[in-house]
């Protein structure tokens, strides 16, 4: 039986492109582990719609601009400029780039990519931002925008993978296009193998990459369960992987290098502001005073997090407004605010019109400790809490249907303030869907179209203040994430995340120079 299995094990090897076989690498092999493994075929339309899926694709496909640890850097475009009066970006492209199959890369491929996404939206880029792409000459492209869009470099030029016209033209169902040609890009690596069931990838360096031969010849991605990643790192069978905060010091002692990401994700207390008594702003503020977010971080996250700012933007961010109302822990104030609303304490619980103040708190099992902590604190403040842990999709469905009082939730994307509009105003269960403050609505819209970064910063500052006053949701904490690696290459976190904000330290440029 085992013998029969061996052929099944050997996954179809993909075509090796003759122009991309390295000879003298500095590091022959680098293995990266994660607990999911399979993130889809690393082509723009077949990778899964998550950060790790994008990252794997980004070793093969490149964007017009890219980022390093601190700034935007040229990639396929050497220079770019925003022309305000035309609301367009002009990009001067490199003329020494070729696709992995040897075909020359030109402006035509860029025009094609943006045309193609009009019919086939690429999942991580909003295709309504670019109205039309125009080739000025062979190596100059002009992108006209439908509206001014502040994070254009981050969300579009730095995220949209450029695809070769000669391969993708005529592909009607790109999400089913998983042929070897679907992974022909301009990047420093080519795909040598991908196995869905083993969750493994093998990349080979492209010797004649236009920025020089990559320093690592082979990159392997393998699947290792989260619990075993630290052991595998110590043993040396993998070179890098994400680790739980508890093992950080153990890993350091074992001689591994630890890096931590600027916080990008927050856990929130979502509040049903459509429902009485939570529709009262003062009531929501009382909740904020009753929860000790510092203690929450120490107890439930064992200190491996930052306490939440009620303005959502983390204190580590350049966009953070230090004047955001903070609601320092003050249970006495919470009680006073509730009393003002007509509640009276009786046997430890608040009562109004003969009814005990009772709220339902929903969370998934992941947030069980956080939920218990909040329940305890709110009960101490006199609010009776019915805490329930439910399966994730059930919580999503209840929150989406406004069938809840309080829920604990989380989402990422905090690097770029454009997230604020999406999780405050827009539809979707992880949004507060709060539209009753006209000032806030206008500010959220305006920051998205303000092309002057200083003015935009001012708008984002104002948003944090207004949002923190209204409190349609309360950010509880930002967890810290860690990666450990053997130090053979210098892994780093990209400014504001890879592309539109992936908080993973696997920038392809790490492996180039």
């Amino acid at each position: 039986m085992q013998k029969l299995l061996i052929p099944a094990v050997i996954v179809v090897a993909l075509l090796a492109f003759p122009s991309c076989t390295a000879e003298t690498p500095e590091i022959s092999s680098y293995t990266i582990a994660d607990s999911t493994g399979d993130w889809g075929y690393p082509s723009p339309y077949t990778h899964y719609s998550r950060g790790p899926g994008y990252t794997r694709m980004s070793f093969i496909f490149e964007t017009l601009v890219w980022k390093d640890a601190s700034s935007f850097i040229p990639q396929l475009a050497e220079e770019w400029e925003y022309i305000a009066e035309e609301n367009a970006y002009i990009f001067e492209l490199r003329d020494d780039v070729s696709w992995h199959d040897g075909t020359q890369f030109t402006a035509d491929d860029v025009v094609f990519t943006f045309d193609y996404t009009q019919q086939h939206p690429y999942q991580l880029v909003d295709n309504s931002i670019v109205e039309v792409a125009e080739a000025i000459d062979e190596y100059t492209v002009k992108l006209y925008l439908t509206r001014p869009y502040a994070p254009f470099l981050q969300d579009v030029a730095g995220t949209q993978p450029i695809m070769p016209r000669h391969i993708w033209e005529g592909i009607e169902e790109p999400e089913k296009f998983a042929a070897p040609e679907a992974v022909i890009g301009t990047g420093p690596y080519t795909l040598a193998d991908y196995s869905k069931e083993h969750g493994s990838y093998l990349y080979k360096a492209c010797e004649d990459y236009y920025l020089g031969t990559p320093v690592v010849d082979e990159i392997k991605f393998v699947r290792v369960s989260a619990e075993m990643i630290p052991a595998a790192l110590k043993e040396g069978s993998i070179s890098a992987g994400d680790i739980p905060p508890e093992v950080v010091s153990e890993m350091e002692e074992a001689g591994l290098t630890i890096i931590t990401a600027p916080v990008a994700w927050n856990a929130k207390l979502t509040i049903n502001h459509h429902r009485d008594p939570l529709s009262s702003r003062q009531f929501r503020q009382a909740l904020a005073y009753a929860i000790d977010r510092e203690a929450l971080v120490q107890i439930t996250q064992r200190g491996h997090a930052l306490a939440g700012s009620p303005g959502m933007i983390p204190p580590t961010s350049d966009w953070y407004n230090p004047d955001t109302p903070q609601y320092e822990y003050d249970p006495a104030k919470a009680i006073r605010l509730l009393e003002e609303l007509g509640y009276g304490l009786e046997d430890g619980y608040f009562i109004r019109d003969g009814e005990v103040l009772e709220l339902e708190l929903l969370a998934t099992a992941d947030f069980k400790e956080v939920g218990q902590f909040i329940m305890q604190q709110l009960e101490e403040a006199g609010i009776k809490i019915d805490f329930r842990t439910l399966e994730a999709k059930t919580v999503d469905a209840k929150v989406e249907a406004w069938d809840f009082d309080l829920a604990i939730y989380g989402h990422g994307g905090l690097y770029e303030p454009s997230i604020l509009k999406r999780v405050i105003m827009d539809e979707g269960f992880n949004s507060a869907r709060y539209t009753s403050n006209e000032t806030l609505n206008q500010l959220l819209q305006a920051q998205l179209t303000e092309m002057d970064s200083e003015k935009r910063k001012d708008l984002v500052f104002q948003i944090q203040e207004v949002y923190a006053q209204d409190l349609p949701a309360l950010t509880l904490y930002y967890p810290k994430w860690y990666w450990a690696h053997d130090g053979n290459v210098n892994l780093f976190y990209t400014m504001d995340g890879i592309a539109s904000g992936v908080p993973i330290p696997l920038n392809r440029m790490t492996f180039v120079e």
Binding site: M1, Q2, K3, L5, I6, A8, V9, D38, G40, Y41, Y48, S49, R50, G51, Y54, P121, Q123, L124, V125, D126, N127, S128, D155, K176, A178, D193, S195, K196, E197, H198, S200, L202, K220, V222, R223, V224, S225, E227, M228, A231, A232, S237, A392, K393, T394, D396, A397, K398, E400, G410, H411, G412, G413, I419, R422, V423, G428, F429, N430, A499
Partner: protein, 323 residues
């Protein structure tokens, strides 16, 4: 040998299973779109993309139309197209199936054979020191869930001693082939198989031992003994074979659960099996995959049932006269 009536029973059961299989996943709260794209902050979910996805997944069609399409496709041998994996369901499942079969097949074989042999020996020597030690030892092993044993084994032999690999079914891109590759696969297989075997050994052992004790009191055993048969013949052919019926049933039930029964062990060892696939598909509300896996489970239960029905008369001819 097989009556028309039982064929009809199987067909009705199969159709009911197909219907349930279609309806159950859709009755779960949450829909695939929010499950796959919902909590990801990076996805630019424009109304246009949403419309395209809804159309691609056929979520805009009424339930009965989806059901109709499902049945039509099924009779053409198609299990559908996975939302999350972006691939035909059949190929996704078939990629994982050999690994699960390898894992389950090996451990099922080992736990059944060992269980029967130990059960016979133990029952034969009821009350002896061997019997008591085996009984106590295997009963306590039986109390551990398989994934817990798996973790213990993994920590002891993988992390501390470092003699077995920590994850996966083989070393990816090791460049091994032939015998070396086979050894690599076996090395990865050892701990998960050990965990499953140890956790399930108790079942077949206890069943065999119990029946063995009853069988030993049967008059035909006395007759056989009086005929002067050797102990080995008495133990294995006369008593042993008659003690196997419940174990065969248990093994059958276990085989029906092939896919789901190994879920936790596959998670612990990051083993690329169907159990883990089911878990991921449930999280992603990937209806086609869930349907595909459950259909496979249903078919295997029916087939195993059928095989057990066939094998009973062979093990104990008296079963044929039961009706």
């Amino acid at each position: 040998m097989f009556s028309k009536r039982s064929v009809i029973t199987y067909v009705i059961a199969f159709i009911l299973i197909l219907l349930l299989n279609f309806l159950l996943p859709r009755m779960m709260p949450g829909d695939p779109l929010t499950a796959i794209y919902g909590d990801e902050a990076l996805v630019a979910m424009t109304p246009e993309l949403e419309a395209e996805l809804v159309e691609r997944f056929a979520l805009d069609q009424p339930l009965w139309q989806q059901l109709g399409a499902y049945f039509v496709a099924l009779f053409q041998g198609e299990l559908g197209y996975s939302y999350y994996y972006n691939a035909p369901v059949l190929s996704v499942i078939l990629g994982r199936l050999p690994w699960t079969l390898l894992l389950v097949g090996t451990s099922l074989l080992l736990s059944t054979i060992l269980g029967i042999v130990l059960g016979i020996e133990s029952g034969w020597r009821r009350g002896s020191r061997t019997d008591r030690t085996l009984l106590a030892g295997l009963m306590s092993l039986n109390g551990f869930p398989d994934f817990f044993l798996g973790m213990l084994l993994l920590i002891a032999f993988g992390v501390i001693l470092g003699v077995f690999p920590l994850a996966g079914a083989l070393t990816p891109y090791s460049g091994l082939s032939g015998l070396a590759l086979l050894l690599d696969v076996l090395r990865h297989l050892f701990l998960p198989v050990a965990a499953l075997t140890l956790a399930h050994l108790g079942d077949s052992y206890l069943l065999t031992r119990n029946t063995m004790i009853t069988v030993l009191k049967e008059p035909y055993m006395l007759t056989a003994k009086a005929k002067g048969l050797s102990q080995r013949l008495l133990k294995y052919r006369h008593a042993g074979r008659n003690s196997m019926l419940p174990v065969v049933t248990r093994t059958g039930i276990w085989m029906g659960r092939v896919v789901t029964g190994t879920l936790f062990v596959e998670l612990v060892f990051a083993y690329p099996g169907v159990g883990y696939l089911t878990y991921e598909a449930l999280l992603a509300r990937d209806y086609p995959i869930i349907q595909g896996v459950f259909l496979m489970v249903a078919i295997s239960v029916l087939v195993v049932n059928f095989l057990i029905d066939l094998s009973y008369p062979k093990l104990d001819p008296r079963v044929s006269y039961a009706y």
